[in-house]
């Protein structure tokens, strides 16, 4: 019977082989290559390149652009993630609550998810037009008496950041809601029934049953969103002028990387050094999340693994 058992195992290997091969080719090799590149002075427009050690990293820390990019990325991510997860938890709790009996849950879920389907380029172009100096936002606000005169929204730090945070929140909270609802569906209903029999309030059920059993899902949402936030690019790139203006206030890690790449003869090595630092930072934080949210008692909970295999759509990561 030994052979039968082994053949089952080998099928497992077979099934994961495409992912492993894909990962080695398209995941691990680029990471290795980026690391190797970051130690050279390679550019796209010159044919020769030399090993220069940690020179790129030294330069990166010499001016404050890198720290600015990191600060921006964290700030924009946190400002949109906190309301995102909060609203998503609240909506999921409402939708899943058997007592509330909300009608047409499917429709609401779809509506909230719809912004996620829009192309980032279209969203950025839309907001750019809406909030330009002669755009409808100014006309609406002035005629409604909410502003005394037209404002250069996209040339002011606070309003530009605010808009970016809103766009990120608006396009991703529906996605988070759906993931959390999927997680909640997997919680055995008898636990809630038992709690109800014991006279638990809705709040108690949420904090004592739902939240602890949602932990694996929350870790998933946290980590994917963190990765998305640290690599946020399309909306901030397209919203103003491709440099994260005004005053570099929406220049994220990836915009900085792109700037390094697109100027000075295509300085791909310098850009790689930004990528390496972002990679290290994101990895450390993701491991930190796993560590702090790990199952401390070490006992297996009854939560089935319902996290979807990969974030949906266009290779984008939620932010």
């Amino acid at each position: 019977m030994r052979t039968g058992r082994l053949s089952t195992t080998s099928y497992g290997y077979l099934f994961i082989a495409p992912f492993i091969i894909g990962f080695l080719l398209f995941g691990l090799y680029p990471v290795y290559n980026t690391l190797a590149l970051s130690l050279t002075n390679t550019t796209m427009m010159t044919r020769e390149a030399h090993f220069i050690g940690l020179e790129n990293f030294k330069r990166l820390f010499a001016d404050d652009f890198f720290m600015k990019a990191v600060t921006n990325s964290w700030l924009i991510w946190l400002l949109n993630f906190i309301p995102q997860i909060g609203i998503a938890l609240l909506l999921s709790a409402w939708f899943m609550n058997i007592r509330l009996k909300i009608r047409a849950v499917g429709m609401w879920r779809t509506l909230f998810f719809l912004p996620n389907l829009l192309m980032p380029a279209a969203v950025a172009a839309l907001f750019f037009s809406l909030f330009s100096y002669y755009g409808p936002a100014n006309q609406l606000m002035v005629t409604a008496g909410l502003q005394s005169e037209a404002i250069h929204y996209l040339q002011k730090i606070a309003t530009t950041r605010g808009l970016l945070v809103f766009i990120q929140w608006w396009t991703w909270f529906g996605w988070t809601t759906i993931i959390i609802m999927a997680g909640m569906t997997a919680i055995p209903i008898h636990l809630f029934e038992a709690a109800m029999v014991d006279g638990a309030s809705a709040g108690q059920m949420f904090t004592q049953i739902t939240l602890p059993l949602l932990k694996p899902i929350l870790i998933f949402v946290f980590v994917t969103s963190l990765v998305g936030g640290m690599t946020m690019f399309d909306i901030p790139f397209l919203l103003t002028d491709g440099r994260g203006s005004p005053a570099s206030s929406i220049m994220t890690n990836n915009i900085l990387m792109y700037l390094k790449f697109s100027s000075s003869k295509g300085h791909i090595a310098f850009a790689s050094s930004v990528g390496v630092l972002v990679f290290i930072m994101t990895t450390v934080c993701a491991l930190g999340i796993f560590y702090f949210l790990r199952d401390r008692e070490g006992k297996a909970t009854a939560v089935p693994e319902t996290a979807p295999a990969s974030p949906p759509g266009k290779g984008r990561q939620p932010a």
Partner: protein, 482 residues
């Protein structure tokens, strides 16, 4: 069973390798066309295999050259020009082009815009086009056009355009506020910057602040830059020419006095000023008196967006001579079809017949459809673009008397006006890093004009941004320090 597992995995790896190999072969497919390059010279000699067309990959950031590509196919039925258009709004085109270097995707012919053509001419990826130089003498190509496309005696790109700048104003507003709409008289009122500012004040006063001198002071950036003594980069050091300082002071003056509409260039508000449909936030109509636009700005920007205001415009030199933009075409040295690529460049930039057709509106939609039935409805070349050959310019200038553009300009021959300005253009001020250095200024300047930062902060932010983009560049002290 372990063996069978190994076998399975190795089979999978092998399969994936075969797959990637196929992928590689597919992208390299254009390579075999290298061989037929020579026989292409005598297309009638090989009628046996008419299906195999030679493929020429052309990349550009506008659809302009697409029209010429179709016309080229008309002359060379054996060639299939594959045209790829990539926008350059935020530098996407330049990035994509850089990323294609050394890969199988590298195009044969590339279009290069004035802002970054030097970067490519100075690098070693473009093919030497010196053997086309005799044609420039024959056609009397404007010297600046040849100069910009060359580096250290090697020509790497030619342009079908020359791009001297002009100053377009609204005749009706001039009559109302300045008392005359005569081009010569108005030119006298804006002949230098002091007079320009005086006139701006007059127009503001006469319209109670509802008419602005210009859409945005950014339009004057190019005129100021064209009058510098030195280029941006000399001996790997950034040069802050006095003209740059003057421009910053001028932009601030225009903003603080309300002489500009504050619309950002290339946005809806800026275009709305051309058709007189601009409305402020309260919904009141506001007007824009003038636009600084070069040769191509007339047929491609101002006229198509002018709506009902046609006939109300006039063209003069304005306060400063300048040039702005232009598209050069070069061939990639790695191109497997170098001969055909050169043939294409010759046709686009150095062919008298093509340049004449281009400027006079021969390439109508019907003309192009006769060559390629799949030509989209909106693809055509309206007359008016200003070409790089003095021979052609002189020949076709009379044709513009009485043309649609002539009427649009209230009875002025744009070709004549630009023809006088084109030989004066200075091509020596362009360097490879211009685009990035100039783009880096926009954001801090906007903050300074808004009053969010001081002038010292503006200079510091801009210099920091330049250093961030060009780590190797030596950056001077800012002209104003806090």
């Amino acid at each position: 069973m372990r063996k069978s597992l190994l076998l399975l995995v190795s089979l999978l790896v092998a399969a994936s390798m075969v797959l990637t190999a196929c992928g590689g072969a597919a992208t390299e497919a254009p390579a075999p066309t290298e061989a037929p390059a020579a026989p292409a010279e005598q297309p009638t000699a090989a009628p046996a295999a008419p299906a195999e067309k030679e493929v020429l990959n052309v990349w550009s950031f506008t659809n302009e050259i697409k029209t010429m590509a179709t016309a080229f196919e008309g002359k060379h039925p054996d060639v299939d020009v594959v045209y790829t258009m990539i926008p350059m709004t935020n530098g996407e085109y330049q990035t994509k082009l850089k990323a294609s270097l050394g890969t199988a995707d590298v195009p044969d012919v590339v279009a290069l815009e004035a802002a970054f053509v030097k970067e490519w001419v100075e690098a070693d990826f473009l093919a030497d086009l010196n053997d086309l130089l005799p044609l420039t003498e024959e056609l009397k190509t404007f010297p600046a056009v040849v100069q910009v496309g060359a580096n250290e005696g090697v020509s790497k790109g030619f342009s079908y355009q020359a791009t001297p700048g002009g100053f377009f104003y609204r005749r009706s507003i001039a009559k109302e506020c300045l008392g005359t709409d005569d081009p010569a008289a108005v030119q006298a009122m804006v002949a230098d910057l002091d007079k320009f500012v005086e006139t701006a004040a007059k127009i503001k006063e006469c319209s109670a602040g509802k008419t602005f001198m210009v859409g945005t002071s950014a339009e004057l950036f190019n005129p100021f830059l064209a009058n510098r003594a030195q280029p941006w980069v000399v001996d790997d050091t950034l040069v802050i020419d006095p003209k740059v300082e003057e421009y910053v002071a001028f932009a601030k003056l225009m903003r603080d006095n309300g002489y500009e509409s504050q619309a950002t260039q290339w946005t809806e508000g800026w275009f709305a000023g051309m058709s007189d449909t601009l409305k402020d936030a309260e919904g009141n109509p506001v007007r824009v008196f003038s636009y600084f636009l070069p040769t191509w700005g007339l047929p491609y920007v101002l006229q198509p967006n002018s709506g009902e205001t046609g006939g109300d415009w006039a063209l003069i030199d304005g306060p400063m001579a300048y040039q702005w933009g232009g598209t050069w075409v070069g061939a990639m040295a790695d191109s497997p079809n170098l001969d055909m690529a050169k043939e294409f460049i010759k046709f686009v930039a150095l062919d008298e017949e093509n340049l004449t057709n281009w400027a006079t509106g021969v390439y109508t939609n019907e003309y192009l459809k006769a060559i390629d039935p799949e030509t989209p409805e909106d693809q055509k070349q309206a007359p008016g673009d200003f070409v790089s050959s003095q021979v052609v310019v002189e020949k076709i200038t009379p044709e513009f008397d009485g043309s649609a553009l002539y009427d649009w300009l209230g009875g002025q021959n744009n070709y004549e006006a630009f023809g006088k300005a084109a030989p004066k253009v200075n091509g020596a001020l362009m360097t490879g890093s211009d685009d990035a250095i100039q783009r880096a200024m926009n954001d801090p300047l906007a903050s300074y004009l808004l009053g969010d930062i001081t002038e010292a902060e503006f200079w510091q932010q801009w210099l920091d941004a330049v250093q961030n983009l060009f780590p190797e560049l030596t950056i001077p002290e800012p002209p104003v320090t806090g």
